[in-house]
Symmetry: D2
Subunit: 138 residues, 4 copies
């Protein structure tokens, strides 16, 4: 599991005083890139190797609102691998402290594509190794 710190911005908090739902997908997107980087594959290196990933599905469960100033972290883990697709799990926690409140669970499905032609490709070792063993977060 990889833990990615996110700075919540004032403008991401809506009139109800909590982070607007759409911003979680932004957090997941940054956490995904951070996860690849942590696994030794910076996004640019993946592109240079001729591969890219496309988001095909997102699921989000909202458990508790996040507020401006909350020192949240997004935990990330690969949870399943197909032939050309893989699944990442994301879990937003109130802080980096052990046992901190779960605010949001997310699960996204990506397909691997050719970086230029955008046609599907089998998951290369490059990506498989960067993502590590499947380890669902919830």
């Amino acid at each position: 599991m990889f833990s990615f710190p996110v700075t919540v911005r004032y403008m991401e908090v809506d009139a109800q005083g909590v982070v607007f739902n759409g911003w979680y997908l932004t957090y997941f997107d940054e956490a995904m890139a951070g996860f690849f980087n942590h696994g030794g594959l910076p996004y640019q290196a993946m592109l240079d190797a001729g591969f890219d990933v496309q988001l095909v599905r997102s699921e989000i469960d909202y458990k508790a609102g996040v507020r401006w100033g909350d020192p949240i972290v997004v935990n990330v883990s690969a949870s399943r691998f197909g032939r050309t697709s893989f699944v990442l799990d994301f879990q937003v926690r109130r802080s980096a402290e052990p046992g901190a409140e779960v605010c949001t669970n997310g699960r996204t499905v990506y397909v691997v594509v050719h970086a230029k032609e955008h046609t599907k490709r089998e998951i290369p070792d490059l990506i498989r190794n960067a993502l590590g063993e499947p380890d669902p977060l919830f």
Copy 2:
């Protein structure tokens, strides 16, 4: 079914040239309010009656990218009703023309809460009537 036009903004298009995934939740949010309004219940009137709705789950399937200038519409329909929760279906189409390409499917679950205390409430007739009969979009 209700059809809500959305103006795609240049800044919503990312470096890949298509709308960034998180913006679809913004489109759905506006379409939801438009749908209530269309059903005779402006959001403020719902709040004034003592009710609010909270998003608890989102699902999005990305089918085709949307570009700046695409005259997209978001079709909206209620697809299921529970005791305190209901489900809305959203479908982004490339344009308002009949048979226009489906770009994105979305499904979101809301619970009805007391506008001030934020505790769950049974769906009142006010909301039930505004949403109409269940009619899944996909």
Copy 3:
């Protein structure tokens, strides 16, 4: 003068209940493209002709907060022309009604560049004609 309607989104309203300041630059950006389009030069046609415009300076005066649901318009006009640069004035009004409250004034400076090389170019007739006569809004 050209008047561009803007749909304020719920997520653009911050915890203070009014549109967050950064969104006005988004509104101006869309209004700029709409202004060019209105002048007979869709943005893509400008690019196809080998020209692009780059923002070099923005000024914004915030007069009154805008709220979700306010049917605002952004009035646009060219206010000054240099050799390679021009200035656009933007004025956000509470609604399209004559005499509606001024919420925000904006002034932005653009330079004309080669669409590919991004080097400065004298303002071509194509752009000059689309923008019309200088007519400051404030």
Copy 4:
């Protein structure tokens, strides 16, 4: 001078490959809160003391585009004090390294208001001390 690190997000980069202009105001907003915090006055403490600040004017000069992954910092300093208003200078640099390229200069004017009534107030010592001596950045 105070230096505030900003994580540029992928979704903030537009189709031209650089950060969209409106996001700089978001960066300045976060840097402003960070600056107050650094000066010993967390935003919430200011509100609790009965004061708030309202943005009345922004100026931005765009010098060079910022890209995803650039480890930018926003330098902040107070540059002028009036009776009820003060001016902050912001300077975005390509990185935290000494002499790093200047990407953007910003200057914003705030007025001090009563936290609840939103009427103007003379700058209290609380705020004056947190902001330090005037020290223009450009």
